[in-house]
């Protein structure tokens, strides 16, 4: 599976490794949607989770796709700048991507282009700041 992705996307796949059940892939943000579509055709039809992590120098947005048939997890992660990051939205590929993307925006501030309803989902609408960033301190 990883070889197929590397062949198809070449330099867009910055790093790829296989650890047991998980295929960890680092993807360039520009070709996220194509990689997701290819993975979905490859059998990874179940989008388990979209989440993110603040690694102090960048925001790492992590997508976890699971294939029911083979039981393997494709963990694709893309890097976004800490402030004002923009990533393409996967709602065109997975209908279930709408809400987790809204939560990542709510908690980290990464906006997703092409998202039908880019609003905060958990916090009140007039909330400033994104709590899960390392720099955000509880008052």
């Amino acid at each position: 599976m990883l070889e197929k992705l590397k062949a198809q996307f070449g330099d867009a796949i910055e790093s790829a490794e296989e650890a047991g059940r998980e295929l960890r892939v680092q993807v360039a943000p520009r070709s996220l949607v194509q990689v997701a579509r290819a993975a979905k055709d490859e059998g990874f039809a179940y989008l388990a989770d979209i989440t993110a992590m603040d690694t102090n120098d960048a925001l790492r947005v992590v997508y976890r796709l699971i294939s029911f048939a083979t039981g393997r997890h494709l963990v694709a992660s893309a890097l976004a700048p800490r402030a004002g990051g923009r990533l393409p939205s996967l709602t065109a590929v997975f209908r279930g991507a709408e809400w987790p993307e809204r939560e990542v925006y709510d908690m980290f501030g990464v906006r997703f282009d092409g998202h039908p309803d880019m609003r905060r989902i958990l916090l009140t609408d007039d909330w400033e700041g994104h709590p899960l960033l390392k720099t955000w301190q509880t008052k």
């Binding site: 916090l123 009140t124 709590p131 509880t138 008052k139």
Partner: protein, 187 residues
Amino acid sequence: MGIAVPPDVKRPDSPESEDSLTPLGRTAEVICRVPGGTILMTTVDKVLNWGRASSLWYLTYGLACCAIEMMCTAASRWDLDRFGLIYRGTPRQSDLMFVAGTVSKKMAPVLRRLYDQMADPKYVIAMGGCACEGGPFHDSYFTVQGVDQIVPVDVYIAGCPPRPEALIDGILKLQEKINRESVRGKK
């Protein structure tokens, strides 16, 4: 750690209107001066308080884990009906509010609005650590540290979640508190 209570939530100690005495409350002052009047008043107090204490209809206000324990207490093993507590869906028909669970800042104005929409006389039981003072979420950025910042609370029940027996103990304490009330203003 003062947290900004959402703007449209009034402080609990500023009642909307000053005259909290009922018409009978005001006339009660006069009646008490007549010899034997106080006996009449205390019997009226007793009857009123008995009526209020033994038919506390509570508003189902399940927020988190405490709501499940509230349901178990209301169900057949601990049975709240014995104490005259029936769960009502709307604040209009309820005179006791169980705050069972964590109150988030998004929920604070809703909670205050529901409290305002309840008919007087109304009471509040803060159930569980989260409602009493934030509980395990004392350093959360989105939790109101104690529901008494929003509504005046009558009884606090500790526990996370409190056992059904603790809940019933809290209700009995509230009933004692109601029985001490008097028409001539809260003693």
